[in-house]
């Protein structure tokens, strides 16, 4: 693992007209690490994702990616730098086939259509959707669409992938498959931050867990440490 962190977040705050969604958050992510991001509903997890991926301008604080300050960058710039994301509510290109969806991602690094097609097929195979390449995205199941978003993000050759609730609504077998997929992404050297409510999906595979509550970080540690942290237990069960 590289000594210098891949991602370093420092004092990050985001307020929407006075409503503070993220408060003074700081953490680092190293190359190839799997970091779980958990917290009760409304804790600010998706807001944090949106700040990291350039969709929101932070109100205060700094984000550094590979040692470079990227605070307040745009989504397209973040993608080019190597930060890919999926969406909590899936946003597949519904009028396009699965293959075409992933091709759009692959075109970030190489505009050639033939190249994008072969690259997209690789990623569809990787997430287990090789047989669905010609299916219309709008006609896929939600579970398939979530994997399609992962394939699309991977096709951009990211160094960090932000996965927003990719396990929500999946059955137990699917959760296991999704966990394995994240581990296989890690094996490719890609770091991931995973927002997840499905604990059995994230706890076994995460190197570290960050816990947010009311917009602030209340814990940061290994899954074992988090499971025993009194502040975390209080946040989840109520004081």
């Amino acid at each position: 693992m590289n000594a210098a962190p891949l991602l370093a977040v420092d004092g990050l705050s985001k307020a929407f007209q006075g409503l503070v969604a993220n408060r003074d958050i700081g953490f680092t992510v190293h190359h190839g690490e799997i970091v779980g991001l958990i917290g009760p509903n409304g804790a600010g997890k998706t807001t944090l994702f949106n700040c990291l991926a350039g969709f929101h301008q932070p109100t205060a604080g700094h984000i550094a990616f590979e040692g470079r300050d990227i605070t307040g960058t745009t989504p397209e710039r973040a993608a080019a730098l190597g930060i890919a994301r999926t969406f909590q509510i899936v946003r597949v290109f519904h009028s396009m086939t699965a293959l075409e969806n992933v091709m759009v991602g692959a075109m970030l690094r190489n505009k050639g259509v033939a190249h994008a097609r072969s690259r997209a097929l690789e990623e569809l195979e990787f997430v287990g959707l090789g047989h669905r390449a010609e299916a219309l995205a709008s006609e896929m199941t939600v579970s398939e669409q979530k994997r399609l978003e992962v394939a699309r993000a991977l096709a951009t050759d990211p160094k960090l992938i932000l996965l927003d609730e990719v396990m929500a609504g999946l059955n137990q077998t699917e959760v296991r498959e999704a966990s394995q997929l994240v581990v296989r992404i890690q094996e490719r050297g890609i770091a991931s931050i995973i927002v997840e409510h499905v604990m059995e999906g994230i706890m076994p595979i995460a190197d570290r867990i960050l816990v947010l509550d009311y917009g602030a970080k209340i814990a940061d540690g290994t899954p074992e440490q988090i499971a025993e942290d009194p502040a975390v237990i209080a946040a989840y069960l109520g004081e």
């Binding site: 991926a53 969406f87 290109f93 075409e100 075109m107 699309r152």
Partner: protein
């Protein structure tokens, strides 16, 4: 995939051959004029489809580009004696530049708000031209009749040259549209249309690609405008800058099927035919019947087939194999 391409190429060549031979069979000038009107509408629809169809940014102000094309080539011809062939290109360039200047602020608006902004821009330009002394205001501009021939793009004895010029322009516009559809730009346009935020997350700059779309679309729309000026030898704000022109251009593509290569050609065939027959039935332009027909068309497309006639054909093709399968099961 290669198996699909071959019949497509053959089909396209057959269609082109048919279009090339058609005016040799139909020799009545009035009918030839009718065919020219269809090709003109088709060319504009294909051009509009690049921004409105593929990229999904509905413009209801394309008359502004059409008008820029018509006025640019006409003014260059009247003041500088420039050949309309070059004037046509100049008009395209001016319209593209204008579209980028207009798109820069307007593309911050989404969906209906963008459409409304395009209407506003077109209205403003129409008012400005109507009040411009240099452009002869509401009186309009006439091209001199004396100068005929290929170089002047004026033909008084036969409609045939106009037919082949507009057919050529249509083919070029379709080829440009086809090249975009097949390249990464076409994929980006569709991605922007479907889910702009997801497209951004994949590194697609919305502004850059929307500007590419409107620049190309306005370029070809303006060339269509120059052609109109050469064919009619007279332009005024009412004929090339009016709201009705904008709506007609958009409707041709929407009726035929947005985001498809040849949908707008089909749309032009249907719309122009209805328009011309209604003109025979209800009298000349200005009576407003064309507007009633446009409105009716919009309602019919919106209710029964948002994907246009191409969408209906596509749906039929999807259903026929399943019907066949059912018949086989029964047998």
């Amino acid at each position: 995939m290669t198996t699909i391409h071959l019949p497509k190429t053959v089909g396209a060549l057959a269609l082109l051959g048919f279009a090339l031979l058609l005016p040799l069979v139909i020799q009545d000038p009035a009918r030839q004029n009718f065919l020219i009107l269809i090709l003109m509408g088709a060319q504009l629809g294909v051009a509009w489809n690049i921004i409105g169809g593929y990229a999904g940014q509905v413009s209801l102000g394309h008359a502004v580009f059409y008008g820029i094309g018509a006025y640019t080539s006409t003014m260059l011809s009247l003041k500088l004696g420039l050949s309309p062939w070059l004037g046509m290109l100049a008009g395209g360039v001016v319209a593209s530049a204008f579209s980028v200047a207009m798109g820069w602020p307007c593309f911050r608006l989404k969906g209906h708000y963008f459409a409304m902004a395009t209407i506003a821009v077109a209205e403003i330009v129409q008012v400005l031209v109507t009040n411009s002394e240099t452009l002869e205001g509401a009186v309009g501009l006439s091209l001199p009749m004396g100068n005929t021939g290929v170089a002047a793009m004026v033909f008084s004895t036969s409609k045939l040259p106009y037919y082949y010029i507009i057919l050529g322009l249509l083919v070029v516009t379709v080829l440009a549209s086809w090249a975009i559809e097949r390249s990464h730009i076409g994929y980006y346009f569709r991605a922007i249309k479907d889910e702009p935020e997801a497209a951004r997350a994949l590194g697609v700059s919305l502004t850059r690609y929307k500007l590419v779309a409107i620049a190309v679309s306005s370029f070809f729309t303006a060339m269509g405008g120059s052609f109109y000026a050469q064919k009619e030898m007279f332009i005024d704000p009412g004929s090339v800058l009016a709201t009705g022109v904008s709506i007609k251009i958009a409707l041709i593509a929407i009726l035929g099927g947005v985001g498809t290569l040849l949908g707008p050609v089909l749309g032009a065939g249907i719309l122009i035919t209805i328009e011309e027959y209604s003109r025979v039935l209800f009298g000349s332009t200005g009576s407003g019947t064309d507007m009633i027909i446009y409105a009716l068309m919009i309602i019919l497309v919106a209710v029964y087939s948002p994907a246009g006639v191409m969408g209906l054909l596509h749906e039929l093709r999807r259903r026929i194999p399943s019907l066949r399968a059912k018949a086989e099961v029964r047998a």
